[in-house]
Amino acid sequence: MNRREAIKNTALFGGASILTGSLFSILQSCKSEPRLSWQPSFLKADQAQLISALVDTVLPKTATPGGLDMKVDIFMDTVFAKLYNAEGQKALLADMAQFDDRCKSKFSKPFAELDKAQRTEFLKTEEASSPKYNGKVWGTAVGEQKPVGFYRSMKSLMLWGYFSSEEVGLKVLNYDPVPGDYLGCVPMKEVGRVWSL
């Protein structure tokens, strides 16, 4: 088998299948919701707002495009709708609700309504308590993977969505579709940026 292309493939799917969580009833506040500019196919409006807020916090616009510019939130909704099975979808929603519940108990507001400093504070706590992904060799994770939780799995998924998007893949990263040769030791400053593919 082409064991080496698989490295690349599965690095991308990091967050897709490892979501767990108990079922929770989802009670969400419906007031003062910012209007979504897109129609989610899986998420409800408040859930989509949470995802958009997360994407904007982790991958904000700088000199390079932000996650929302690359429609990473829309891509994530597509992944939930089409890549997750029913069990994965259920677990995702439960994890998402717990995430926002923790947020509400701390700030009395859902994540989407926090200001930037509050979002940063909250994500730092979430990050500190989330296990990391095991290494992978040719498509399979090594050892037994502990659940990484909502925040890290979403982070993995949004990085995939961002860096595999057209503008980032072609223009932000170093795009070289047909390298022609393999050069094993090239000064980083000659390459400049991380390879796209």
Binding site: N2, R4, E5, V137, T140, V142, W160, G180, Y182, M188
Partner: protein, 569 residues
């Protein structure tokens, strides 16, 4: 190149029939056609013509809704193969439909199939190593299995023959346990691999770290283009830079005008003629129409892949062979082997942060076997040995999910910093041939063509587990002494099949009472039937097997041609 002749209805009689068009079947077709034999290649899957039928070869992730991942429907269709982690949107069409092709796992066994012209030669890893005298002598020396009826010298000219045509890149080192091929220039190692090589060879005299030997062209060769380092091989290569039946052997066979291909052709059985004492042809089910045909030929080559070949032979019963064609010994279906998989270690290398690489190399490093190669390296814990594959790379943005941080700086660092160098090695250990590791016909569970399926009942035993234990210990020790940090050892305890190197079940041997095939891959008791895919293997070495299938096939085909000329077949 002229189109393939797929009009097999015109003619029901050929000089030769080749069952299967993958790694070994392509070679059988090429050798037989070039000798002037009218040859029919039967393929149970669809046609896949080189380049023309590689629809995803230039896909970029952003062209695909799920960016290369497959959804629940495809996951279900490939529910066996997805266990390997290899199936994605860009290669899924080269994996067989697991729902339509059931098999029973009496014990867990991953059987990856590729039902199309070219078979798994489109998907293979291209690691290409000669076996050594050590491998051919192994059974005789330690008493496991039966003795190989051939030795290295018998196969050496045929290794040369196939290597010169296929094109193998690598570095000649003169290691007795890993004989050199005829090499095209080697691929390059990166900074960290070179550094680890130096330290490893100094710390562990007798061990070598080499660039993988691969069936990728590093220079133009026989009209095929060189590797462009896209690492998109398993979509089909538009440059024809890696060896596949589609790019190499089948076009060569076709160019002779002697080849007929019949896709959608499931071989149901080989027809044995009691009076003649030989096979007269094969029964074929058209997978689309369900119709059954019989094709006739003077010789038949079985190259359906290890387990499929044995399935056909077990299903080829007659009053002479009530238990399957050529199965007087009772060994048909037995002695199934694979290489152990996913035991090793990984870690990071601190240094060379200012160095990177260019190109996506479809290859890594290899550490050849160093246990049990002479008296000095003899283990008291296990027989045989293992080799490692591995490599160093920088993760790029893939490191981001595990990194702390988010926001402006975090995002920009993933664009400008490729992350720490990572290095890993993972072992492949030899598996002994055990009679009780077997496949049988399952007549209770029929497939959609009403044919018996296979039940696979095999597992690793004490020797393989002892090898895996040593792999783990050695991997940790080598990484530590080579300056790798944050070392994590792993043993995924994968069952058989994950190595995708299934071998045995119709073994070669000297004695018809204990083996199925003779020294030239002929069924002992039905000499015009040849088996030259993985089924024929008497032991399984620890190196990747494809090159040995190619050499055995070319050798057997040329024996068949010479026997036909002499009137012996």
């Amino acid at each position: 190149m002229p189109n393939f002749n797929i009009d097999a209805k015109k003619d029901m009689t050929y000089d030769a029939i080749v069952i299967g068009s993958g790694m070994s079947g392509g070679w059988a077709a090429k050798e037989l056609c070039e000798a002037g034999l009218k040859t029919l290649v039967l393929e149970r899957g669809r046609m896949v013509e080189h380049v023309k039928d590689y629809p995803t070869m230039n896909n970029e992730s952003w062209n695909l809704e799920l960016r290369g991942a497959i959804g629940p429907e495809d996951q279900k269709k490939h529910f066996k193969a997805v266990r390997s982690g290899f199936v994605g949107e860009n290669n899924k069409h080269f994996f067989a439909n697991d729902e339509e092709n059931p098999y029973t796992e009496v014990k867990p066994f991953l059987w990856i199939r590729a039902h199309q012209m070219g078979g798994r030669s489109l998907l293979w890893g291209k690691q290409t190593y000669r076996w050594s005298e050590l491998d051919f002598e192994a059974n005789a020396k330690d008493g496991h299995g039966v003795d190989w009826p051939i030795r290295y010298k018998d196969l050496e000219p045929w290794y040369t023959h196939v290597e010169k045509y296929a094109g193998i890149s690598g570095e000649a080192l003169g290691l007795p346990q890993l004989p050199d091929s005829h090499f095209l220039p080697p691929m390059e190692m990166n900074c960290v691999e070179k550094e680890v090589k130096q330290r490893l060879e100094k710390e562990f005299p007798g061990r070598n770290l080499i660039i993988g030997r691969v069936a990728h062209l590093t220079v133009e060769h026989n009209g095929r283009g060189k590797c462009q380092f896209r690492n998109r091989c398993d979509r089909g290569c538009p440059f024809g830079a890696y060896f596949s039946s589609n790019a190499v052997t089948l076009p060569a066979a076709n160019a002779t005008g002697n080849l007929t291909m019949r896709p959608f052709s499931i071989v149901q059985s080989i027809v044995y003629d009691e009076k003649k004492g030989s096979a007269t042809g094969v029964k074929v089910i058209d997978s689309e129409s369900g119709e059954m045909f019989e094709y006739n030929a003077k010789i038949i080559f079985c190259n359906a892949s290890t387990l499929s070949t044995t399935q056909i032979m077990l299903n080829s019963t007659s009053s002479r062979f009530p238990n399957g064609l050529g199965n007087d010994s009772g060994e048909l279906g037995h002695n199934l082997m694979d290489h152990t998989y996913r035991v090793g270690a990984m870690g990071s290398y601190e240094g060379f942060e200012d160095m990177y690489y260019k190109g996506r190399r479809p290859n890594g490093i290899y550490i050849p076997r160093y246990w049990n190669i002479d008296e000095k390296t003899k283990s008291d814990k296990f027989v045989r040995g293992f080799g490692f594959q591995g490599g160093a790379s920088r993760p790029g943005w893939g490191a981001g999910a595990n990194m702390d941080g988010f926001g402006e700086e975090f995002k920009d660092s993933l664009i400008t910093n490729p992350g720490p160098w990572e290095f890993f090695i993972t072992g492949f250990a030899e598996c002994l041939p055990y009679h009780e590791n077997k496949v049988t016909l399952d007549t209770q569970n029929l497939d959609k063509w009403k044919q018996p399926t296979l039940a696979i009942d095999a597992e690793y035993k004490a020797n393989e587990l002892a090898l895996n234990k040593q792999i783990q210990e050695d991997a940790l020790e080598m990484l530590e002494k080579c300056g790798i940090k944050n070392i994590v050892g792993f043993d995924n305890k994968h069952e058989m099949g994950y190595g995708i190197h299934e071998m045995g079940t119709a073994r070669m041997g000297r004695d018809p009472k204990t083996s199925v095939l003779n020294a030239t891959n002929q069924v002992h008791t039905c000499k015009n039937v040849f088996v030259t895919d993985g089924a024929c293997m008497t032991s399984n070495s620890c190196v990747n097997p494809s090159l040995t299938y190619m050499a055995l096939t070319a050798r057997a085909a040329n024996h068949a041609i010479s026997e036909l000329k002499k009137g012996n077949l």
